[in-house]
Amino acid sequence: MVVLLSSFMFTSALNAAALETDPLQPNMIALTNEARSIALKLQCPVCDGQSIVESQAAVSVQMKQKVQELVDQGKSEQEILNFFEERYGMMVLREPPYSGFGLGAWLIPPIVIGSIVIWFSFILRRKNQQYKDQQ
């Protein structure tokens, strides 16, 4: 039986300042779909492995508010991502940037796999040759 609330757990009004100190402040932000897709690309700086969307931490909630604000101002996704990178460093981007150390993430897999494939075809060709020579 669901009883309607008569006394409320969270009587303190949603106060931006209160967000910073009280980890139990409810997260009342509703992101637009566009803001949410951008927020999914931002890592929560204080949690373990979550984006700011999943995280209930105070700083994540603040960051979400900021994302919505910037989206409402008409900023592009890249501008918003840059904004957060400036403030929190590269670790806040869930997708490694295509420059500097980020390149290492993107380039190594194809290089390694490509090398394996090339090495494989080399060995196979040599074996085929040996096999044919034996015939």
Binding site: I29, C47, R94, V117, L124
Partner: protein
């Protein structure tokens, strides 16, 4: 004075001593062909299993009995927890999960060695040693560094209780299966190393190793899927797989293990890829140890951080040592792993398997690399780069798509060589189905990637149906069976092949579920004042209010949402919740409200509630139930493959055993 729980420690220590004896005895028994010693070693392994079950029972009993003098029990349970969580708390922490791993390892070892006790004495002898050595490592950590039976200076009045995130039905099934999955790769690994040591990687070895590999594969698959299901109804972001580091490392042995299952088919039929196969097997076992190292060391930031501890470096050492030893062994024995035949044709089935393997290994490497890259970038450049879901989607997505196509073409290829004309003929219908689906998909959605995904599934589905159809047709001609009968006898006669196709069919269903629930998902976040309504898809949702419900050890904050569908009179109620456990007030957990309609899930996550309104994240996940259906079907198919045939397995006995 010895207390009851000290017996648990005594059982552990005894197992350690006996395992040391068994490993030496088994090794000596092979070298000296001493049957008496061999039996001794085997019986020792059975005895170890018994001792471990007793040790585990002592711990479980302590939990049920609420012995808060035991540190581990006090940390992970309390008097207000229901019984099932109390028992589950046994494997919820470091020491207990290690005890669970060691116990299941000893049991699986005993069962496997008993079943194959009359197989080639060298392989069984060496395997016993390897298994004993791995077991020694785990029990060593338990006995000296992670003792579950450590007592507190005095008994506590109550315990702390299970981490709130773990108080979910998922806790009852996911960890046992996933830990068992990790653990069970040890069995085929032991047989693999034993085969290398006895210079016997032939047909018999393959027949020996296949079932333990399938067992491990099934357990790991189950563990992964249940983890996804758990994440789905608790984490609230609408999905079930987030490419979290801990998810990734559990996925790695599954990937190389699946590649191994395919490559040994090439070894069996065409006697090539032996070196490659054994390397995959070693990689799989090593990755299982690597995975548990990553989870327990806390070295990567993950939602699984509650598993962190200080025994990580022992696992790192064991990982490095076992990997180095295995690689050395392979290098030494590489001369004897010569291929008998070669890859003559690009359209031969073995070439298809090779490409399959390369793709699996590529996905594994990309996932591995992305998972450890944050560590590497920090070590090398002082910059901790985050590698999140977007990376894996972009890199692995295309690879999985190619794999899907391959799954369709592979069965149509013949061993050694495929007649191109016949192949094209066989491909006519599947390619037509594919093209039609692609055109329909692009026409309806405009999304090329989405359409490609679904079309690939239709392609594979068609080829599987084709294989069953042609197989059944031949049977109806040569026997008196009707089609339906013919299909079931196909499964009886060539269990591996047609059972394998059934697994592929399950994968297709799983893939359709994944593509639908991610590609066709609709969602919205909305702040709803009390008594307001909103619509999404064909559903109208009315938020009527929230309430707090006090329970024995937790408080539930629930919101009521009344759901109605277009054109229907009846309504349903959804109750998304946030739960606050006593002792853990700053770590609320969520219970997502889900209605699983046939074609889609309606999914509501409660973000926050205040005096006048509540914020929800609402999702429609089309076809997501096919993810669970496909996974379950995979396990069913696995059991069909396992069903004993009427003929006595020849490889379980070996006339050469001395």
């Amino acid at each position: 004075m010895i207390s009851f729980t000290d017996f648990g420690y005594i059982f552990l220590a005894s197992s350690l001593v006996i395992a040391v004896y068994a490993s030496i005895a088994s090794l000596v028994s092979v070298r000296s062909k001493n049957a008496y010693l061999r039996t001794h070693a085997l019986v020792s392994m059975y005895l170890i299993a018994l001792l471990m079950v007793l040790a585990a029972s002592v711990l479980v009993y302590s939990f049920i009995n609420q012995d808060f003098g035991l540190r581990y029990v006090t940390m992970h349970s309390n008097t207000s927890m229901p019984l099932y969580y109390t028992i589950a708390a046994f494997y919820s922490g470091q020491e207990g999960s290690l005890l669970y791993w060691s116990t299941t390892l000893s049991i699986l070892t005993a069962i496997t060695l008993f079943i194959y006790r009359n197989a080639n004495y060298k392989i069984i002898g060496y395997s016993t040693t390897i298994l004993a050595v791995v077991f020694i490592f785990f029990v060593y950590v338990l006995v000296f560094h992670a003792n579950p039976f450590e007592r507190l200076p005095m008994d506590m009045p109550d315990g702390q209780g299970l981490n709130p995130l773990l108080r979910d039905p998922g806790m009852l099934v996911h960890p046992p299966l996933l830990l068992a999955g990790y653990m069970s790769w040890t069995l085929p690994f032991a047989f693999g190393i034993a085969g290398l040591l006895s210079n016997d990687i032939g047909i018999r070895w393959i027949q020996l190793i296949r079932k333990p590999t399938l067992v491990a594969w099934g357990l790991q698959t189950g563990g992964l899927v249940l983890g996804g299901w758990w994440a789905y109804h608790v984490l609230g972001w609408g999905g079930y797989w987030g490419w979290d580091p801990v998810e990734n490392v559990a996925f790695l042995p599954w990937l190389t293990g699946t590649a191994f299952l395919h490559s040994i088919m090439v070894v069996e039929r065409r006697k090539k890829l032996q070196l490659w196969s054994i390397s995959l097997l070693i990689a799989t076992f090593s990755l299982s140890i690597f995975g548990t190292f990553i989870v327990r060391s806390g070295i990567l930031s993950s939602v699984h951080n509650f598993a962190e501890s200080d025994v990580g470096h022992y696992f790192l050492a064991f990982f490095a040592t076992s990997l180095a030893a295995s690689i050395s062994l392979v290098i030494i024995k590489s001369k004897s792993l010569t291929d008998v035949t070669t890859f003559e044709s690009a359209t031969a089935r073995e070439s298809g398997f090779l490409i399959n393997n390369i793709i699996f290994v590529s996905i594994a490497f990309a996932t591995f690399w992305g998972t450890i890259y944050p560590m590497i970038s920090e070590a090398l450049g002082n910059q901790r780069i985050t590698v999140g879901a977007p990376f894996y989607e972009k890199v692995n997505g295309p690879l999985f798509l190619i794999l899907l196509f391959l799954m369709g073409i592979g069965p149509l290829l013949n061993w050694s060589n495929t007649n191109r004309k016949i192949l094209l003929q066989k491909l006519q219908i599947p390619i037509s189905v594919f093209t039609i689906c692609l055109l329909i998909g692009i026409g309806f959605s405009g999304d090329i990637v989405l359409s490609l995904g679904f079309s690939a599934c239709s392609f594979v589905f068609t080829t599987i149906v084709y294989e069953y159809f042609t197989g059944a047709k031949i049977r109806t001609r040569t026997s008196s069976e009707n089609y339906f009968h013919a299909v079931s006898s196909l499964l009886k006669v060539d269990r591996r092949k047609y059972g394998g196709y059934l697994v592929h069919l399950s994968v297709v269903i799983l893939a359709i579920g994944i593509i639908g629930s991610s590609g066709l998902q609709t969602h919205k976040e909305i702040n709803m004042p009390i008594n307001s309504t909103t619509t999404i898809g064909e559903y109208t949702l009315e938020y009527t209010g929230s309430a707090t419900i006090e329970k024995a050890d937790h408080t539930i904050l629930a919101s009521q949402i009344v759901v109605s569908r277009d054109n229907r009179a009846s309504t349903r109620e959804m109750l998304p919740q946030t739960i606050y456990y006593d002792n853990f007030e700053t770590q609320p957990t969520s219970r997502v409200a889900i209605i699983p309609f046939m074609k889609e899930d309606l999914y509501i996550f409660q973000s926050g509630v205040d005096a006048n309104s509540a914020t929800f994240a609402i999702f429609i996940n089309p076809l997501v139930n096919l993810v669970w259906v496909g996974s379950s079907l995979m396990i069913v198919a696995l059991m069909i493959i396992f069903w004993p045939a009427s003929d006595k397995r020849k490889y379980e006995t070996d006339s050469r055993s001395s």
